[in-house]
């Protein structure tokens, strides 16, 4: 992954409404995500965060309105959009090794097998799994499995990374190191990121912008730019006055939205 190899994707949600099973999950959501932007989505549980992400991934089609990707209507999943699923255990092929799981993405793009091995080794090293190529997911810790899933997503050479609470099931230490790794990877690739989380601090720490959803049905309630300097630091950034002010603002929003 070299800088600028795949310029980031632009997403435009144009009054998107999604009905599922007779219920309106998202209502009249309009949103523009600029190329290379890191947007975090927060909100009360059941508020449609994951649904919004699945719409961006093309896994759902809007009932009304449209999702545009780089100016074209999104009609289904695309290899340009990599999805990091929350439940890594269900997103990795248990019968394939770490190497084989990354290989799947390259096989999908039709890269000849002679070129795969180098790229897979590099990708595994990038996510911090250089010696784990022959291990099966069941032999890896949760953090390693999530790293592996990220490696497979990077293998797609995506224009956007769509991450659905990717670190929700990990312990605090693993979580922080993965946050920093993702920031470094994204800065190198220039990919756009939509990152769903229920952790407000995580959203502020990672994002250029945090969007808060109001529940029942899901709507955009708040859209906060994050002006914290980069590169960010787990201690200094989180202790800065601006960080604490943003945390207060979002916390109040979430509390109010739950009433």
């Amino acid at each position: 992954m070299t800088a600028g190899a795949s310029p980031g994707a632009e997403f435009v949600f144009d009054s998107v409404t999604l009905d599922l099973g007779g219920r309106t999950i998202l209502e009249d959501v309009s949103l523009k995500v600029r190329p290379g932007e890191f947007v975090c989505v927060v909100g009360a549980s059941g508020g449609g965060k994951t649904t919004a992400l699945r719409l961006a991934a093309g896994l759902y089609t809007p009932s009304r309105g449209s999702v545009m990707l780089n100016g074209e209507r999104l009609r289904g999943p695309s290899r340009d959009l990599a999805v990091v699923f929350q439940d890594y255990g269900k997103a990795l092929l248990p019968w394939r090794t770490a190497y084989g799981n990354v290989s799947l993405a390259l096989e999908a793009t039709g890269i000849p097998s002679s070129e795969r091995s180098d790229r897979i080794e590099k990708l595994l090293a990038t996510v911090g799994l250089p010696q784990q190529a022959e291990k099966y997911p069941s032999e890896m810790s949760g953090g390693m499995q999530q790293r592996l899933q990220i490696a497979r997503c990077l293998a797609q050479n995506p224009k956007a990374l769509l991450m659905d609470e990717p670190f929700g099931a990990l312990d605090a230490m693993t979580r922080q190191s993965l946050q920093d790794e993702v920031l470094a990877l994204v800065r190198g690739s220039g990919a756009t990121v939509i990152f769903v989380t229920h952790d407000l601090e995580e959203a502020i720490y990672l994002g250029d912008r945090v969007i808060g959803l109001l529940p029942h049905p899901g709507r955009i309630g708040i859209d906060v730019p994050i002006a914290l300097p980069r590169p960010r630091d787990q201690l200094a950034t989180r202790e800065s006055g601006e960080f604490l002010r943003l945390r207060r603002e979002l916390f109040d929003f979430i509390k109010a939205s739950e009433k």
């Binding site: 290899r79 439940d87 092929l93 019968w95 394939r96 999908a108």
Partner: protein
Amino acid sequence: MNTSRVKGVLLPAIALLAFEGWAQFSHLQSDALAPPSAIIIALLKAIGDGTLLGATVDTLAAAFGGLAAGGGAGLLVGVVLGMARPADRLLEVTLECLRPIPPIALLPIALIALGFGYRMEICVVAFACFWPLMVLSRTAVRSIEPGLIEVSRVLELSYLAKIFKVVLPASLPTIFLAFRLAAGVALVVSVTVEITINPMGLGAGIMAAQQALRPDLMLAYLVWIGVVGYALNDGLFVAQRLFFGPNSTRARQK
């Protein structure tokens, strides 16, 4: 051989010895029973003159032929139905009507259509083997982790790539279990076809021995069929552990 197997053999060995003793003591004369010693002699003779092995090859050829044809077709239909709900609904009634038909009930039609010999036997065995493969592979494909299907969508895998890289590997342990069950069915059905109608293989051998009033040879065939069935199941069991690891058989094997 471990101790639990030795213990398992103990009871039948005692029963056989007791029966042998009783048969010798009472000078057993019967058209249905023979002492174990006579059965063993008949078995060795039948092995020695090649009739038993020839019959075994005939039966196994028909059983495996039917297993391959019927099991293969069942696998194909099961995978397709598991993946495509509309096809599943379209064919459900038809398949559920055909399924309860006992394979042996097809014999009169199969005989008229195909005559004696391999072809007829293979067809009847194939009908019997179709069902376990169809039902189990359909269930296996349907119960694949939805997350894996989403991964294949996100990666834009082609339909065939999705089947060969995701659906089949995920269902393989269950499919192999279905083949093991079907192999047992194949042997039962092929011997039954031979006993009732088809003049070849182990089943016909039993009938010939019966009509020649040779209970020793008849029972020797019976013992042999047991040995073949046991070896078949054991072989497939070992193969399953080899391919899918020791955990693949633990929960399912009773």
